[in-house]
Each structure stands twice: as structure tokens, then as C-alpha cells.
Amino acid sequence: MSGRRSGSAVSSISDDQITHLVFKLQQLIPELCARRSHKASSSKVLQETCDYIRNLHKEIEDLSDRLSQLLASIDTDNDQAAIVRSLLM
């Protein structure tokens, strides 16, 4: 695959394939999908992809932060509920 081609000067992937794959990637990115200027340059598509993935990571980070707080408060609720139950019974 992307390994030991020590002698050959030609990669096994053609230019057409490259542009086609980049176009396919472009369709996944919402920002590039909206203004479909037929084909954005490869560099732009890759840049947007990287930014998009980073933004998704950040969102997941924030969400997991929030989830951890919620879960901590739920556990607290459970403790309080257990105390209430033990007091009432």
C-alpha cells in the first residue's frame, strides 16, 4: 500500500481518482456542500475537512463535559433519594 516502493516513481493512483475522492469528501463537509461550486480545490477541501473534524472533536469534548456534570448530579440525586428513602422507612 503506502509502503515500500523504493524504486518506482509513479504512484498507483491517478489524478482523476484523486480529484474524484476529494470531490466525494467535499460532499461530506456541510460548509462546502452548501455552496457547491462544482469543485473546490483539493487544498481547500482538505483544509475544511481538518477544521470540521477538529470542530466535531471540540463539540464532543464539550458534550462529554456536560454529560459528566449531569451524571455527577444524578449520582448526587441518587444519594439524596437513598437518604430520603432511608429516613422515610
Binding site: 500500500m1 503506502s2 515500500r4 516502493r5 523504493s6 518506482s8 516513481a9 504512484s11 493512483i13 489524478d15 481518482q17 484523486i18 474524484h20 475522492l21 476529494v22 466525494k24 469528501l25 460532499q27 461530506l28 463537509i29 456541510p30 456542500c33 483539493s42 487544498s43 482538505l46 483544509q47 475537512t49 481538518c50 470540521y52 473534524i53 477538529r54 470542530n55 466535531l56 472533536h57 463539540e59 464532543i60 469534548e61 464539550d62 458534550l63 462529554s64 463535559d65 456536560r66 454529560l67 459528566s68 456534570q69 449531569l70 451524571l71 455527577a72 448530579s73 444524578i74 449520582d75 448526587t76 440525586d77 439524596q80 433519594a81 437518604i83 430520603v84 429516613l87
Partner: protein, 199 residues
């Protein structure tokens, strides 16, 4: 927290990628690939069913684990469940699952890679240096994909992006579910109890 990508809402919208009510729609797939398998791959992370499966698995995992007070733990659990759903078919999922086993040894940058990089000059010369750089960055962002060929990297990236989007949708849904449940939660017991209950 306003999401900057509005089409991550659970409700179906105008984006042609997200059609959660109909599991297996045929997209315009590249004609060179076996179309049936391809549509299944493309629709993989986008169905409502997949999202429900992931949500319930994640919720169970979070409830089981007692150490969910750290957001790092939640994040890792979410990633682990996500990678588990992929069932080992993608490189990034295997990398996530293996990374947890190796426990942080993979973080060390291996300097020996530089020696193997020399054939780069002869390979894929048609791409400009800017594109090369961005490909490298992309390879670092997707777990386990640093040394992939171009086409494989794009494959992994597409799958990874779809999975991440589903992860965001599912975690948002779980958060809203928990928020609705605990929104009035802490107050009633405190009101009923005359004594002071420290939280």
C-alpha cells in the same frame, strides 16, 4: 450552546445526507463500486436505528462506570462504544480500541519514521506540498491513519466524520434526556427535608 453546524439536529433537514427515517436509501454512488454494498457503507452511521443503538449502549456504559465525574472518562467511553460499533471494519475504530489497551505508549512520537520517509519524494509527486501537508494533518486527526495511502485515508475520513456526527447527535440526545429528568430533580428532596442535606 449553539452548534455551528445546524444540520446535526436530530430532526431531518434539507441536507441530503441525513435521512434518518429511511434506513437504506440509494445515494448517487460512484459507478465503479458495487452499489449495494456501497450504499450500506454510506448509510452506516446515519440511520436512526444506528443512533439508537449507540445511544443505548453509551448510556448503559455510562451508568455502569462509576467514574463518570471526569469528562475525559466520558469522552473515552463514548469513543470506545463508537469504535466498538464499527466492529473492527475500519482502521480508526481498531486504533481507538487498541490505544486503550496499550495505555498511552502510543503517544510517543517515533523518530524512526523519518528514515522511511525518503521514498516520499518519488511517490505521489503530483500533489502540491500544501496538499501534502494537509493530508498529513488529516492523517493525524483521524486515529490510526498516519501512514495510509491517499484513497484509504479519504475512506477512513469519510467514515470517521459520519461516526463523529452520529456521536454528537447521540450525546446531545442523551444530554437533553438527562437534563429533562434532572431539571426538577435536586429541588424537591431538598424542599421536603427539614434538615440540611449537603449535596
Amino acid at each position: 450552546m449553539a452548534s455551528f453546524t445546524p444540520n446535526l439536529e436530530p430532526a431531518p433537514d434539507t441536507s441530503l445526507q441525513f435521512k434518518p427515517k429511511k434506513p437504506r436509501i440509494t445515494l448517487q454512488t460512484p459507478s465503479s463500486c458495487p452499489s449495494n454494498q456501497r450504499t450500506q457503507i454510506i448509510k452506516r452511521w446515519r440511520t436512526q436505528r444506528d443512533q439508537h443503538i449507540y445511544s443505548s449502549k453509551l448510556f448503559q456504559a455510562l451508568r455502569r462506570s462509576r467514574r463518570t465525574s471526569a469528562s475525559r472518562e466520558v469522552h473515552e467511553t463514548a469513543d470506545r462504544v463508537l469504535a466498538g460499533l464499527a466492529k473492527g471494519t475500519t482502521r480508526w475504530s481498531r486504533a481507538i480500541l487498541n490505544a486503550r489497551k496499550v495505555t498511552k505508549h502510543k503517544k510517543a512520537k517515533l523518530p524512526t519514521n523519518n528514515r522511511l520517509r525518503k521514498p516520499d519524494i518519488y511517490r505521489e509527486r503530483r500533489k502540491t506540498p500544501a496538499v501534502e501537508r494537509k493530508l498529513k494533518v488529516l492523517g493525524r486527526l483521524v486515529p490510526g491513519c498516519r501512514k495510509l495511502s491517499f484513497s484509504n485515508l479519504i475512506e477512513e475520513t469519510s467514515d470517521y466524520i459520519a461516526a463523529l456526527e452520529m456521536q454528537v447527535r447521540a450525546m446531545t440526545a442523551i444530554t437533553e434526556f438527562l437534563c429533562g429528568g434532572t431539571g426538577g430533580g435536586p429541588l424537591p428532596p431538598a424542599d421536603r427535608l427539614p434538615s440540611n442535606v449537603n449535596s
